[in-house]
Amino acid sequence: MDIVFENVNYTYQPNTPFSHQALKDISLEIKSGSFVAIVGHTGSGKSTLLQHLNALLQPTSGRITLGNTELPGADHEQIKTIRQRVGLLFQYPEHQLFEETVKKELLFGPKNFGFDLKQVETELSEALQEVGLDESALGRSPFELSGGQMKRVALASMLLAKPQVLVLDEPTAGLDPLGQKKMMQLFQSLHENKQHTVVLVTHNMDDAMKYAEKVVVLNQGTVDCFKSPRELINERERLKAIGLEVPEPVEFVEYMKAHLGVLWEEEDINEQTISRTLIKHLKGGATS
């Protein structure tokens, strides 16, 4: 399902002294089946925007179209359908887990959405396997688990509700490097093999540039730009000005160019292309 924002504004506590406009005139389109990253500094409006994606918040003015549902104006049933179709993974898994056992936790969403629970029970072990957990976790309390494991349980329970769109808020924060890589690869495979739309909200520019097809850059509640990672690489100064760091490899290439006079001819910037370019350059330099 396509997601379209048209001139969306959102104000917290309107008409009070605490009134704060978090989103300003946001227009953007997230195509069905695409992989989009939303990046921005603290306070840029990232979390406000993501809560609009499954109707936890609705625009103060403007319009959002989620598939064939429009916000504001959707009724209770329509909103329920949206919540099933758009899965949300929060940054802090402990905020979304509450059942006594992992099994109950996993069944909660599907039960709420009126799924056939007998059928869902047969899918539990596969769902756990998919997120990298052992079946023995089913009988344990989600609160005995480590942060990384809790995150995986929250993810499995999201997947069991069979969403079309996965909205992920800093999904790898706090995981170790191996865990981060595995989790990002899982999202990529869900995107590629099951045609899920993925919306990744992150401050990790490395991940945004590596995995997303397009990147929304938010700054002070507005869309600063909406571009492909390749186009964004040329906007280093602009990103820095709004408090975003460019990925480390990009910074390294700039340093090499400036200090070694390296000629950069590769399209992608990653450790392989960096090594290749350096080796080529040094071989040339050493013989001359």
Binding site: P177, H203, F252, L260
Partner: protein
């Protein structure tokens, strides 16, 4: 000085040991990184350092005092802790209240309290935010307030338990800068529990844990020589380590394992391009 003397720990009597016969010692004024993947035992080690957990076997000794039920509160005054999630450590409605909280608890007189609050906020470069609400600050700023609260208690040792892992890259840099400053200016003993090798590069020494045992102990430079082997213990070599090792495979004469990309580029410049 901190000493682990044959320390083992398990959470329940029938569950596996998360630390297994660990011996280590950390000197006064040293900056040590404890590295390892999730489940390696590094956070358990951190909690043993200030008596949040007590060893099942062995002893933890801080400055000649073994941590026991009788000494734990005394020891805790010397060992401050900064945790992973800054959101979970705020108690005050303003930055000032928050830093004051610990001091009130130990009954520091008002005059002294005001002095210490200003000093510690200055140490983390947050003095101008004294009357701000903590909730409005960025992740890096919140974590600096948490550090100020710890500093106000005047500990000799600060343990950072994955204190940068939830932060954006700019917040991470802020915290690492703060650690360097405190280490250099005040000779504090700093222990960082982390899985980020870029962060560990700044420390004097690293201890890598794997499955509850010490897998490596030495300088960061020495650790980085393991290159891709680091992945076996769940650590990701830094970009610069990967690039350096691919140059080495092509037999380029680069002398020393680099810690940062500037080191590598500068050395290449000297070696190959100066002539």
């Amino acid at each position: 000085m901190i000493q682990f003397d044959q320390v083992s720990y398990q959470y329940k009597s029938n569950s596996p040991y998360v630390l297994n016969d660990v011996n280590l010692s950390i000197d006064e004024g040293e900056w040590v990184s404890i590295l390892g993947q999730n489940g390696s035992g590094k956070s358990t080690a951190a909690k043993l350092l200030n008596g949040l957990l007590r060893p099942v076997e062995g002893r933890v000794i801080i400055d000649d005092t073994e941590i026991t039920d009788d000494t734990v509160y005394q020891v805790r005054r010397h060992v401050g802790m900064v945790f992973q999630n800054p959101e979970n450590q705020f108690v005050g409605t303003t930055v000032l209240d928050d830093v004051a909280f610990g001091l009130e608890n130990i009954g520091v007189p008002r005059e002294e309290m005001i002095k210490r609050i200003d000093e510690s906020l200055k140490q983390v470069d947050m003095l101008e935010y004294k009357n701000h609400e903590p909730t409005k600050l960025s992740g890096g700023q919140k974590q600096r307030i948490a550090i100020a609260s710890v500093l106000a208690m005047r500990p000799e040792i600060i343990v950072f338990d994955e204190a940068t892992s939830m932060l954006d890259p700019i917040g991470k840099k802020e915290i690492i800068e703060t650690m360097r400053y405190l280490h250099e200016q005040y000779n504090l003993t700093i222990i960082t529990i982390t899985h980020d090798l870029n962060e560990a590069a700044y420390s004097d020494r690293v201890i890598t844990l794997h499955n509850g045992s010490i897998w490596f102990q030495g300088t960061p430079r020495h650790l980085f020589q393991y290159g891709e082997k680091l992945e076996e213990v769940g650590l990701e070599p830094t970009l610069i380590t990967k690039v350096y090792h691919s140059l080495k495979r092509e037999s380029f004469a680069v002398k020393e394992e680099p810690l940062h990309f500037k080191e590598l580029v500068d050395e290449l410049w000297t070696l190959y391009l100066k002539t």
